[in-house]
């Protein structure tokens, strides 16, 4: 049977890994290539890179980082950030990524999901959603969580699946950076709507949070950034712990 996956997420700006708290106050950590190699060694099942740069010049720097990462790591690599066209898919996949994550670009142009899935296959297209509770419903936010699109998250996830997305990254803005556990309620509600794998993001603080997460049906992976970057949770230790909790994980 397939294992549950543990996925470190690296936000890259100016060629360096950064991590924000509630999407604000970003600060530098380390070299993305070295960090990726470290995670590759210690048993991460996949890596997610987000390009949070804006300018064209920085985008080229990111592509260079990506190529150097892809030369060093031999686990699946998913890359997102500013993806708004099939050409962006070409560019990212040619730099060595295996999957591409779309977010605001797919909100503006939902058909992008279909075009990319037709060209590269469903398994290549990851729909990333930043979701926040607004007046008792789940709203999808765009532009790194800054803009309320008014889009209903439970409809959007279903539409994304129908259009050909192969996976969903569900990031709860409500729990992001707070480290009090994943947003189990939101995850359960989304998992009821789709059959494609769900990667949970936002809120992981402890190993116990992952154990609780993997009790949810339909959740296949847990994604986190700062707790891994700052070594608050060690991935090897986390996997040993999860195996002890009867969660099927890949241990290295």
């Amino acid at each position: 049977m397939l294992t549950k996956r543990i996925i470190p997420c690296l936000d890259v700006r100016d060629g360096k890994v950064v991590k924000g708290v509630n999407f604000q106050g970003v600060r530098d950590i380390e070299d993305p290539v070295e960090m990726a190699a470290f995670y590759n060694e210690c048993g991460a099942d996949e890596l997610v890179f987000y390009d949070i740069t804006a300018s064209f010049e920085q985008r080229r720097l990111f592509a260079d980082v990506l190529r150097r990462v892809a030369e060093r790591i031999f686990i699946p690599l998913c890359v997102g950030g500013g993806v708004s066209s099939v050409e962006d898919f070409d560019r990212i996949l040619n730099a060595g990524a295996d999957k591409v994550s779309v977010n605001s670009g797919a909100i503006r142009d939902p058909d992008l999901i279909s075009r990319a899935a037709r060209k590269y296959g469903d398994q290549c297209v990851v729909l990333s959603m930043d979701v926040k509770r607004v007046d008792g419903t789940y709203h999808v936010f765009a532009k790194g969580g800054r803009e309320d699109t008014g889009l209903d998250a439970l409809e959007w996830c279903r539409r994304g699946q129908d259009l050909g997305a192969g996976e969903i990254v569900l990031n709860s803005i409500d729990t992001d950076g707070v480290k009090t556990g994943f947003d189990l309620e939101m995850l359960r509600d989304v998992a009821e709507r789709v059959t494609i794998p769900i990667i949970a993001s936002g809120g992981a603080g402890t190993m116990e949070d992952f154990a609780k997460l993997f009790q949810l049906k339909g959740v296949d992976a847990g994604l986190a950034a700062s707790i891994f970057h700052f070594r608050e949770v060690d991935i090897r230790e986390l996997k040993r712990y999860l195996a002890g909790q009867s969660v099927n994980v890949r241990q290295v």
Binding site: L2, T3, R5, F74, I75, P76, N94, Q123, P197, V252
Partner: protein
């Protein structure tokens, strides 16, 4: 340094495969050139996408007779993912398509195989890390790999009736053939270049053949 030819026939991204061969100290040559294939020490046949499309593209390169000759002469060849599936006789992926027929067996839909079984809710594509159960641990690709090791799969079709070429399989409702071989012909359904240290070890064993 020995040369590993990676057959370039216009399908898929060969960046990771090339990087992993290089990381193992091998010299990768991504090529569609018949002289280079003939002079290489071994050949990797990659592949992603749909079977029929890939088979057509490979046929279109005119390289199949070259590959056949090299394989007959005893040169090690390994198919990866769809590249492994192409080694079989045929596939029912979107129609009926002939494969290379170097291994006995066919390629069929995993969805169809799971339909009506207690595992019908398993997701297809079979995507993620799954474990290897050995059918024949003496296969050179499995040297130094503990049974139960995890490797990374991404596929929706799988090999059936592959008989005595089966070396290892992964449990996913059905037994999914993961490593197959006959003499100097090898195949991996998973991506060794994406399967961490276990995958690199398998690739390294191939590079030593």
């Amino acid at each position: 340094m020995s040369v590993t030819a990676i057959v370039d026939y216009g399908v898929g991204n060969l960046f990771s495969l090339t990087s992993s061969v290089r990381a193992l100290g091998g010299e990768p040559a991504v090529t569609g050139d018949s002289d280079l294939l003939a002079s290489a020490d071994r050949i990797l046949l990659p592949g992603v996408g749909a079977f029929g499309d890939a088979a057509d593209k490979l046929r279109g390169t005119g390289l199949i007779p070259v590959l056949e000759e090299q394989v007959r002469a005893g040169k090690p060849l390994m198919g990866i993912c769809l590249g492994m599936q192409l080694l079989f006789e045929s596939s029912s992926e979107y129609g009926d398509h002939a494969g290379l027929g170097w291994l006995n067996g066919r390629v069929e839909s995993l969805t169809e195989a799971l339909r009506g079984t207690p595992d019908a809710d398993l997701k297809v594509p079979h995507m993620g890390w799954n474990s290897l159960t050995f059918e024949d641990p003496s296969c050179p690709l499995l040297a130094g790999i503990p049974e139960g090791s995890f490797v990374y799969f991404v596929h929706s079709f799988y090999a059936v009736d592959c008989g005595d070429s089966l070396r290892a399989w992964a449990p996913y409702g059905v037994r999914v053939p993961a490593v197959v071989s006959r003499e100097n012909i090898f195949g991996c359904q998973f991506h060794p270049e994406k399967s961490g240290s276990v995958g690199l070890k398998i690739l390294e064993s191939f590079l030593r053949l």
